[in-house]
Amino acid sequence: MNRVDRYSEELLDQRRPQPFRATEAEAAQLRTAIDLIAARPGAADPDPDFLAALEQRLAGAASEAQSTDPADSADEPASLPRQPRFGRRRLAITAAVAAGAAAGAVAVDRLVGATGQNEEETEPTQETLHPDGAQWQTVLASENLPEGGVHEFDLGSVAGFVQRTATGLRAVSAVCTHQGCRLQLRPATHQLACPCHDAVFAMSGEIVHYQLSVELAPLPLIEVRESEGAVQVFVPR
């Protein structure tokens, strides 16, 4: 029995399939087997016992998160009943950490991909804006930027997008690094698309897709922080 056949039997019996490194042709067959089994009447109904057990598990995780939150007990009576506040508190953490991580990730990608010795000089790298005479300017109220949300801003001197991710805030320029066209947010994917030549950037500033023959630089990062309930970016007046 080949491994696709074995996989089919595992799906048909609703057992957990064994991993293997699939070729493209095998992948196409797995995909089709999944499409067929998913059409089996009632197969996709969740098991109520599973749903209840997961709810219990999440309740456990929630109360743990609550009890290990030292700042909570410091300024509020411990007896106050409260909803667990998953990551709700956002102190004034500047996005420098997140920005640094993003830049680091880019650098690692480059390193892994680098083969020639002069690669580093010719590859466009991601920069962070450090404008002279910049100051922190408010973009919007913190509560209006939920987890995963993206907000477009235009402060005259600089236009950009700011996003709240699981690890903090990040902001990038809204100007395509090719010829300076203004990027448009694709709301469903949180990608930034250029109307001029179809380049697409991720919110990290990295290039997702482009068909140009020239190298594109990633979008510059903009420093962002949260202060007194407001999301602020570091841009020129």
Binding site: P17, R21, E55
Partner: protein, 170 residues
């Protein structure tokens, strides 16, 4: 600090667990993986999600998390993406569960309709009607060995048919 509409994670879970599970199941096709990945989605999302967000934002966030979780699952198990969660399609005016089920069924129908009769029958019996190999062989009047070979070829042809249908609709 809160704007007072936070109904807590229990509500978020109860409102979203069913469709997230169905979404994941449609992509992996088996219960053990679907359960594990559903748990992974909620554990990951609840560590970072603002439960006071509006329901559409919560749905979008969970869908995006599920997409990431699924991609990780495929990388780990088969070293490549078998399929993916289409966030753009999900963001379109929301079809209810019935419509989703019907779409899945219709797609399976289209695929097997492309095949010669015997291949169509074996896939119908085994995948959709949950016949065992032995039962399917008896139904088709062939040996178990023959049924196995038939099923093997049928799936290969079905994958080609699915590819053609994909190309045609793209």
């Amino acid at each position: 600090m809160s704007n007072g509409v936070d109904t807590g994670w229990e509500t978020v879970y109860r409102d979203n667990a069913d469709w997230i599970y169905r979404l994941v199941f449609a992509k992996v096709g088996n219960k053990p993986d679907a359960e594990d990945l559903t748990a992974e989605v909620f554990l990951a999302a609840f560590g970072s999600m603002r439960t006071s967000a509006e329901p559409p934002q919560i749905r979008a966030y969970l869908a995006a998390t599920a997409r990431t979780v699924l991609a990780g699952h495929w990388r780990r198990t088969f070293g490549r993406q078998i399929n993916e969660i289409d966030l753009i399609a999900l963001a379109e005016p929301r079809a209810d569960d019935i419509a989703d089920t019907e779409r899945t069924a219709k797609r399976a129908d289209l695929i097997i309709a492309e095949l010669p009769e015997r291949y169509r029958r074996i896939l119908q019996l085994r995948f959709l009607d949950a016949y065992s190999l032995k039962e399917a062989a008896a139904e088709l009047g062939v040996t178990v060995g023959n049924a196995k070979v038939l099923q093997h070829r049928a799936l290969r042809l079905a994958a080609q048919a699915a590819h053609r249908l994909q190309e045609g609709s793209a």
